[in-house]
């Protein structure tokens, strides 16, 4: 270091700026990573397959003469959006924090004058942005196909469904980040999040509904069902047939469940990360 000409004293940026710095470099890391390419490739392959199959078979329920734009978008977007949201959330959030411990990269960041909350929020926002890019690519291809078959007649339910999926992404990432803070190994965080979000919640939800006949209002995937349900007009309601009740989350209820998951799991994840020692 040139000590003959001392540098001007540095001013350490505020926490908000450091959130931005962490987000910028984490996002750059994601965009250059193999996982981002894989995720994009999955979305592009699925979209390409859908495009070809719909163009070739022209399914009546989607693009037939009696089909509406709502039918088209609910099939194209509604059936896959939740799954895609979960997968991309896990892909980008699973090792958000755990990798700092596993790859020991935390040794380079944590000793610096930066709050752990800034690191956590920066990484969260980077994961959210990367996963959003994936969702938007899928959405753009859906819209392109919709424009081809139906012109510029995009139903408002499609926009609502996208916003719900985006909100669901926040909850999924909050949940995934919590496990990422809990474990020091990325694969554990990814595996546990995957099993719970893809299999566990659906199983628990079905069991609770079937065995106790009560509303599974505390299950995230139950709240996320609004992504698909919003395409149904009029909006479906809870019905009881032959003593068996099929519960349907209303839109406010679905949003509240997702918000609760996002807030509680994010805060828990942050507390865990704040307390975790590097050793």
């Amino acid at each position: 270091m040139s000590n003959d000409q001392p540098h001007a004293a540095n001013t350490v940026p505020g926490s908000l700026v450091q959130v931005g710095v962490t987000m910028k470099y984490t996002l750059l890391d994601y965009l250059r990573s193999r996982r981002f390419v894989i995720m994009l490739a999955i979305v592009l392959i699925i979209s390409a397959l859908l495009t070809v199959l719909v163009a070739y078979y022209r399914p009546g329920s989607m693009v037939g003469s009696g089909a509406t734009t709502i039918d088209f978008y609910s099939t194209w977007w509604g059936t896959f959006a939740s799954f895609l949201t979960v997968i991309s959330g896990i892909f980008f959030g699973g090792d958000g924090i755990a990798a700092e411990f596993q790859n020991k990269t935390g040794y380079f960041t944590v000793p610096n004058p930066i709050r752990r909350s800034s690191i956590y929020i920066g990484k969260f926002l980077a994961s959210f942005t990367a996963a959003t890019v994936v969702l938007v690519v899928y959405l753009a291809i859906a819209v392109a196909n919709g424009l081809f078959y139906f012109g510029a007649n995009i139903p408002s339910q499609f926009g609502e469904s996208f916003l719900f999926a985006w909100f669901y992404l926040l909850a999924v990432l909050g949940f995934t980040f919590m496990f990422s803070s809990l474990f020091k190994t990325s694969s554990y965080a990814i595996l546990v999040s995957f099993l719970l979000l893809i299999v566990g919640f659906s199983l628990i939800s079905a069991l609770i509904e079937g065995l106790t006949n009560t509303e599974p209002w505390y299950i995230l995937s139950y709240g996320a069902s609004i992504i698909m349900d919003v395409f149904t007009s009029p909006y479906p309601t809870t019905i009881t047939r032959a003593g068996f009740t099929t519960y349907v989350a209303s839109i406010p209820e679905g949003l509240a469940i997702m918000a609760a998951y996002f807030i509680v799991s994010s805060m828990l994840g942050l507390i865990l990360f704040e307390r975790k020692e590097f050793n």
Partner: protein
Amino acid sequence: MIADIRGVPRAEREKRIADAVEEVRMGEWIDKRTGKFSKGMKQRICIASALLSNPTILLLDEPSTGLDPRGMSEVRDIVKSLKKQDRLVFMSSHILSEVSEVCDEVAMIDHGKLLVYDTISNVTKKFSGSDNIVEVGLLKSVDPSIITRISNLSGVTGAESMDDRNLRIKFQGSQDTQARILTDLLGLNVPVLSYRPAASALEDVYLNLIKATL
């Protein structure tokens, strides 16, 4: 990223990074990913990141803990070189031999209470009796009669064999006395391989000081 976090001005960033990396002797690794680095190298990178803001005071919390002997030696060398750069370096360590080797002054703290703060030589002089201690590494073992003759050298208050190849000499006096004793040893044809202040002197001081608090 670290430069951004530490608020290093954009115009100075590249030069400061290159300087800091060079200062911890990691220049040839500057384009490599850190994942495969040894613990010692990672520790050097951490020190480099602290140097980015060109601090006049550095706080190093047990910088060599958990490192293998090579890593410890690397980090010790870096700390020694940082001292030469007109910086005040505070280093905490439980390895007192390392403190003897690297530091000029020492503060001993027990249960949050400052027991002593002074130069290493003053501390060892004050608290391990009035004797200084040197350890002598030998090329081959020496006859016990030689050890008796060493004990009788001027200024020497005692000499003992630690094992076949190491002697421990207690003496009273300054560094000049220490240098003269070395000349006397050579005069006695003692096969001296190494000659240095005893690393354990500081440990003795520490143990004496904390006795009261136990």
